[in-house]
Amino acid sequence: MSGALETRLGPLTLQNPIVPASGTFGYGLEFTDFVDLAKLGAFCTKGLSLHPHAGNPPPRICETPAGMLNAIGLQNVGVKVFVEEKLPRLRELGATVIANVWGDAEEDYVAVVGALEGVADVAAVELNISCPNVEKGGMLFGNSPSATASLVSRVRAATRRTLVVKLSPNAPDLVESARAARDAGADVLSLVNTFVGMAIDPVTARPRLSFGTGGLSGPAIKPLALRMVFQVARALPGVPLMGIGGISDLSDVLEFLAAGASAVQIGTANFRDPGVCGRLVDELDAHCRNRKTTVAELVGRAHRSKASAGGEAGAEG
């Protein structure tokens, strides 16, 4: 693999920009039959809380055109079990681990991040302030710039690790949320989490998910997510971004890099094709060789091309 794929996200350098997204890749170990974890840029763990969390009752998922709704409700083993039982094996496998964390209250986030302090082989922490499927916490922190700022500054004070903040597309003004997270000390922003959606059984007229609503993901959201990445990259030049939203193939990867993402997270596509991330690394490598280019050159190309100068892509309103 060539150094052409290397990408920088603030203090963090990844060997390539392909990163499986939180909640779609388990703890990595579920995928070892299908992908060499050491080959990925990094991967984001299932959202970790201070204590194990059971999640929502079924039905939790529902297919929709070109995507799916989920309301898993952040089921996870808790940070302690992750560190003691999952991380040692990930270390052996050479995985670059981004620990995704969440909580009901600011103290919970601080406590989980605290539990990871001093733990070797966690490359970064990603704050989930954008999960739409829990009653408390989650998206509440992402939907108000002041709540985002307050949470991020408290976590910032608690860790020296690379701090990633995962933003919600459901926020009233994503650019303002992004600015608040950056100003409060986020090193990297990842965007976007799922869009709140719904499906109803036409016969019973009841929601198809037990939680009522769920997060929409998959190719259906790609154009929306791409617009948001482009918009934040334009508004906050220099802030390292990880683009997320329906990315399934090389063309999608190239589009998000062009929009200004320095890395991309692959989500729902992992369910359909558990080998997709390994293959995307190979395909991006071949692309860079054939075009004699590098990921660094591909990042933000859409902002440098003349065509993008005209439209204020994704203007609010």
Partner: protein, 267 residues
Amino acid sequence: MRADHRATLLRRRVFSPGFFSVSFRAPDLARAVLPGQFVMLEVAGRLRPYLRRAYSVADADPSAGEVEFLVRTIGPGTAALEDLAEGSRASLLGPLGNGFSLADLEKGARVAVVAGGIGAAPFPLLFRAFGEKGIRADLYLGGRNAAELDFRSRFDGVGAAETILATDDGSLGAKGFVTDAFARGAAAADPSYARVYSCGPMPMFAALARVVQRAKIPAEFSTEAAMGCGFGACLGCVIPATDKPFLVSCLEGPILPPERIAWEKVV
């Protein structure tokens, strides 16, 4: 080992409109799969259905390198399979899940298979294993009406000791629920059933769970929950459990003993 097998559709056998079986060439899978295991099947290149679908492997022939699935068309996933042309490719991710247990049964043991409608899908392969081990198995097959059992000729020659049919409307076999037919059969069985294997809709499972608990017959249910991935990554396919909040059907099942399922919480 689990893998994503590129398979070719060899033939489709149509029992009646909406009921069919498909046989794929997938030699590695045919060698590896155990009765009760499943695959996540993708008909390539489609955005609808977007997710793969879980199918129990109905039968496997390692010498021919073939696996077979028994299907009822109910939505876009099964419809895509019904429309797939012979010679087309599909991806079969598997084998997944735990499978039925029968290693502990002795030669000559008597067991029962209770299937509701297309829930019969995983059983031809299990009957094959019964035959190899010299286990005597009765088949109880039920549905709402005769049309729901149009695929039953697939079970001709699988080696069931007795086949008992039941329909809610009495249009085929005994009138009434298959679980009631099984309860009568279990009471009369001598020697009694050492185990019952079942697959079908949740209401049938709930009724059968009561019957086997009363009769103290060990049981294994092939559970079905909507699966996003099939290998434990999405956690979509959970089932309320008695010993913890949820069982993850694809990882801890799909074959589960009824006493581990919290039936009062199952919708």
